[in-house]
Amino acid sequence: MSTSLIYFWACAATAVLGGLSVVVAKNPIRGAMGLLMLIVSVAGLFLPLHAQFLAAIQLIVYAGAIVVLFLFVIMLLGPSASTPVDRRGTFVRAASGGLFALAGGAFWVILARAVGTGGPAAPDPSFGGIDAVGSVLFTDALVPFELSSGLLMVAVVGAVAVARGRQGKRSMSESELEVARTSVPLPDPADKGTGVFSHEIDDRDAGGHAR
């Protein structure tokens, strides 16, 4: 059992654990931590596959930015971020989950059969390095590269527009008011929201126009 095998099994175990915790955790923060664990272990797996540049990117972008963003949002939402346990519609969800697992398994069988066996031999060291991937990035994959920059810009602008809410002159439109009024159980004033927005909620009550 060579060290690489052990190394592989370790990373695989942490990855699966992380994944499970994302799914199972009651509290979203534990989920975020599980996600972090998953991302780090996947980055680890990239190294034996000669994808050093990608492992680095994974750590920086994923771990550094996306998981942090998640945590940030979870903190914003506070306790209501975790949804109460709700038994309704379990059958539908369980059925779709099971079906999905079955499809995943079948897919794996086909893929394995198509791929055939045999482990990879050691390529030369420059494979997967930053200069190799970088050169490809800026020659053949230039167009997707520029496009992805555009994509990110759009995403940022979108996020700002969506999340900015209505600091502007218009209060909630009639339909939103009506919907908000009808279907959401009124939180009892005692339950002071701990989320960052909680101040906003109280102001609105005080301002009276939200009700």
């Binding site: 690489s4 990855a15 699966v16 994944g19 994302v22 799914v23 979203p28 998953l38 991302i39 996947v42 797996l45 596959l49 990608l54 994974q58 972008v61 994923y62 930015a65 963003l69 949002v73 979870i74 939402l77 209501s80 971020a81 949804t83 709700d86 309704r88 519609g89 369980a94 989950g97 999905f100 697992a101 995943g104 897919f107 794996w108 791929v115 066996t117 482990g119 031999a121 050691a122 997967g128 190799a132 991937v133 490809v136 990035l137 020659t139 053949d140 994959a141 992805s148 994509l151 759009v154 995403a155 979108g158 996020a159 969506v162 999340a163 809410g165 919907v179 959401v184 939180p187 927005f197």
Partner: protein
């Protein structure tokens, strides 16, 4: 050396976990996170095949063909970042409107 099936099996498992998570959990945030899991699984498969392809296929359509998998994974990450940003923004505005993140509540588009 670790044969390719191991990597493929792992990515399939992770993918399934992410998928089940997305389908089962009612929480919007967890849904987003399980998408992350699925995408990571995909990245892992991409890189694994990229590595495996180096020996088994010698036809080079163009010079940089060795790293196609990795470049593709790179762009998956970029797309993922954009997706999460917007996703979370939506969750926030949902929260502001309905003060919950339960996906059942977000049914404004009902019939």
């Amino acid at each position: 050396m670790i044969p390719l099936e191991y990597y493929v099996a792992l990515s399939a498992l992770l993918f399934v976990i992410g998928g089940v998570g997305f389908l089962v959990r009612r929480n919007a945030l967890v849904a987003l996170m399980s998408i992350e899991v699925m995408l990571n699984a995909a990245n892992l498969a991409l890189v694994a095949f990229n590595r495996w392809r180096f020996e088994h296929v010698d036809a080079r359509a163009y010079a940089g063909q060795d790293h196609t998998g990795q470049v593709f994974a790179f762009f998956v990450i970029a797309a993922e970042a954009a997706e999460v940003a917007v996703g979370l923004a939506i969750v926030l505005s949902l929260y502001r409107l309905r003060r919950t993140v339960r996906t059942d509540e977000a049914d404004l588009l009902k019939n």
